[in-house]
């Protein structure tokens, strides 16, 4: 059986962690508070990390917790920044195509699970005395050196891209300059926003795969900061 012991205790811990991972994963999409959603996802990741440690993947398991805590922290910051009502003080449902999604999720699970159950996997468990971390280091510096350096370049591209996209100050001036069209009268509401909404609506009507669009536009109006327009698109729909 190798290092991954088959003792009862290991099984028990595995079941506990799996249950935690799945339950918290489910809570992510069921809670109102964005912060709770984010950190429920973190708990799910942490449990997966725990399962990995049970499988003697110490490094990957612990590093998952390490990386995911940071990533979820950042995710939480952005969730709160951009989601209305981030604390869920008013309960809400920001969902669309609900039944379709549930069906897709269940189908995905059933399909994958059937595939898993029907496949015969080779049985080559982790040998007893393998120094997995050292292996990984040698692999990184040897065989997979190119992957490693490519990852570096990719991360650099990510950094540059993220900074360029999100930072306001840019080579070409403030990135939101011209974001809002000038008002029809001085200090008035920006012109053209109504048209834009309507245009988006109509323009999409002809595209395939946008049947949900009508319904979406209607819900979308809850995010429109301008009261009048929200009402308008609602009556339209």
């Amino acid at each position: 059986m190798g290092r991954i012991g088959g003792t009862g205790m290991t099984d028990l811990l595995f079941y506990a962690l799996s249950a935690l991972a799945i339950w918290s994963g489910w809570r992510v999409f069921r809670v109102d508070s964005m912060i709770r959603a984010t950190f429920a996802l973190m708990v799910s990741f942490t449990s997966v990390g725990g399962i990995a440690v049970l499988m003697a993947a110490d490094y990957i398991g612990v590093a998952t917790v390490f990386m995911m805590a940071v990533e979820m922290m950042v995710m939480g910051l952005f969730m709160v920044m951009f989601m209305m009502n981030p604390a869920g003080l008013n309960p809400m449902q920001m969902v669309h195509q609900y039944k379709f999604s549930i069906a897709a999720g269940v189908l995905g699970f059933v399909g994958l699970a059937t595939a898993v159950l029907l496949t015969n996997f080779p049985d080559n468990p982790l040998p007893e005395n393998r120094d997995t971390l050292r292996d990984l280091g040698i692999e990184l510096l040897g065989g997979s050196m190119l992957i490693f350096e490519t990852a570096g370049v990719t991360l650099l591209a990510t950094m540059v891209g993220a900074v360029a996209l999100s930072s306001r100050r840019g080579r070409f001036g403030d990135s939101d300059a011209g974001a809002a069209p000038p008002g029809l009268h001085p200090g008035g509401e920006p012109a053209g926003r109504k048209v834009e909404k309507g245009g988006g609506h109509g323009g999409h009507g002809g595209h395939g795969g946008h049947q949900m669009n009508m319904e979406k536009t209607k819900q979308d109006s809850s995010d429109d900061p301008h009261k009048g327009h929200g009402n308008m698109s609602e009556t339209e729909a």
Partner: protein, 305 residues
Amino acid sequence: MMTFALAFAILILVLALGIWFAAVLDGVFSRQLSGHGTVGLLAPFHASAVYLTQQRLRTEAPDQLNWFLSIAGYLSVAATGLAVVPFGPDLAVIGLDTSVVFWGACESLIVVLVFLHGWSPNAPLSLIGAYRYVAIGLPIMLPSMFVLIAVAIPAQSLDLRDIVASQETVWNVIRQPLGLPLFLLLGLSLTLRGPFDYADSDDLAGGTSAEDSGANRAGWQVARLAMLVGFSAVASAAFLGGYLGPVLPGFVWVIIKTLVVMAIVIGLSHLLVRLPVARMLGLIWKILLPISFLDLLWAGLVALA
């Protein structure tokens, strides 16, 4: 099983002793520097008893679950961080061959938990404290990770037990002189102290803990001190040779060195100024991060020499 029980007993001992000692030490420093105040060996117990007699208030529409989780979680992470420290050769509660990474996970969870603590009460000053802390808590992890990787190089292992063993001849604090100072800054940040106290600072009337009363306040203060113990123990293992030392048993050395690091951290926290947060952010990325690169380079060259 016996070793585990022994290690666990030592863990509880170090934690209890450390929390008490840290509280006393804080009083001593206050008194020395400000010229007043009481120092008593029992003062920490009296002070925490006050909190336990007070009502635990909640605020309007708080996130009660996260409020509890942040306090209990902070304490858990502090204790778990301490648990990777070896109290003797092969005498660690959590004997993991990637304990340095494990400690890194603890560091990043602390940021999450402090944030949650400021988020939960639904109060403006706590919220500002929480967000400000994240701004500093995240990037300050980078130098600390680099210096920990630097100490892993000569040990050829990410296991704190091996890292302690690799300091048989010379301690890392001498071999890699830049390491410990950088790591101490992280300690200040993790324990919300002094120059890195962006979460619970005076300019926010207590920041994330401004709305804590009663048991919540007691729990949070205890957890902060526990974090100080955990951090100091890790620092002593990574840089001061952990359990290595003549005559006395290993765990006594761990305790002594932990207390020394603790005293330094508390002293620094009283004596260093807190920069406005944007300035500190620049300082971390523009100055501390390059210094930690230097530390890594230094460690690499020494290991190859």
